[in-house]
């Protein structure tokens, strides 16, 4: 049940991406291109998403546990560090190069676009590189 529900959430999530046009990289780049022919749509997507999502988070605070699981798994860190800012900065550069972030990247996999597949392949490779790098550092630190 918990698994099926997660699948349904993924489906609705990506339906939202497609309805709002965020699956089109040109539209995302149009938002980031503030000096060109600016397309503010992404700001409206964020506003709509934040309004509903914030209501959901407010509701969750009143509950001891979720409907289908035993506990909430919510990040608790509040400190700022170089990894957070550096990682976000690198992500933004990649986002600005192609106009694709992880959600739309996967949502576009069913489109039959070789470009979309190449991007996802590189994205997974980037995640694996990070995994390798942190492992090596962990190995050095534990020596």
């Amino acid at each position: 049940m918990q698994v099926l529900f997660a699948g349904l959430c993924g489906l609705v999530f990506s339906a939202g991406l497609a309805v709002s046009g965020m699956t089109n990289p040109a539209k995302v780049l149009g938002f980031l291109d503030v000096l060109g022919r600016w397309d503010p749509t992404l700001a409206f997507v964020m506003a709509g998403a934040l309004a509903v999502s914030a209501a959901g988070f407010a509701l969750s605070r009143r509950r001891r546990r979720p409907w289908l699981a035993s506990a909430f798994a919510i990040p608790s860190r509040r400190d700022l560090d170089a990894r957070l800012v550096g990682g976000a900065a690198l992500f933004g550069i990649g986002w600005g190069m192609v106009g694709v972030c992880p959600g739309p990247a996967l949502a576009n996999l069913g489109r039959g676009s070789g470009e979309a597949v190449l991007f996802v392949g590189a994205m997974v490779a980037g995640m694996a590189l990070h995994r390798l790098a942190t492992r090596e550092r962990g190995a050095v630190a534990s020596r």
Partner: protein, 143 residues
């Protein structure tokens, strides 16, 4: 302003994205951050694999369904330059793992629960995204 600007579709699609995030939290107790879910499915614990995979499979399905229903009039235009696709994908993959999140996890879930880390991450990737488009489009004339 870009003629593609579509505020109503943006708000509606955004609300669907917010609904999916709120539902995954209230139902399964999980954060709907796509880079976190993908990274967790690839390298995380076995016990969490099923719900993560289900959410990820829902992503191409939802966008496909919306296209089939004719509710995605936005089109699809992505760069055809392999170098940009690979570099962008690598940076998005590496950066989101290093910075613990992307547009969905930090931008929507994080901000809607008032996380200072997510606010800083979101402002950072928006800034480097805007700068990257500025440099690529207006200085170098590529993409």
């Amino acid at each position: 302003m870009d003629p593609a600007f579509s505020p109503l579709a943006g708000l509606l699609g955004g609300a669907l994205i917010g609904l999916a995030s709120a539902s995954l939290l209230l139902g399964d107790g999980k954060i709907a951050g796509v880079s976190g879910i993908l990274g967790g499915a690839l390298f995380g614990p076995r016990a969490e694999l099923a719900w993560r995979l289900a959410f990820l499979v829902g992503l191409p399905l939802g966008a496909w369904l919306v296209r089939r229903l004719g509710a995605d009039p936005h089109g699809f235009a992505i760069t055809s330059q392999p170098a940009l696709l690979v570099a962008g994908g690598l940076l998005v993959g590496f950066g989101t793992q290093l910075g613990s999140g992307c547009t969905s996890g930090h931008g929507i879930c994080g901000i809607s629960r008032g996380s200072p880390r997510s606010l800083v991450a979101t402002l950072t990737f928006l800034a480097t995204g805007v700068l990257t488009v500025l440099v690529l489009r207006h200085w170098l004339g590529v993409a």
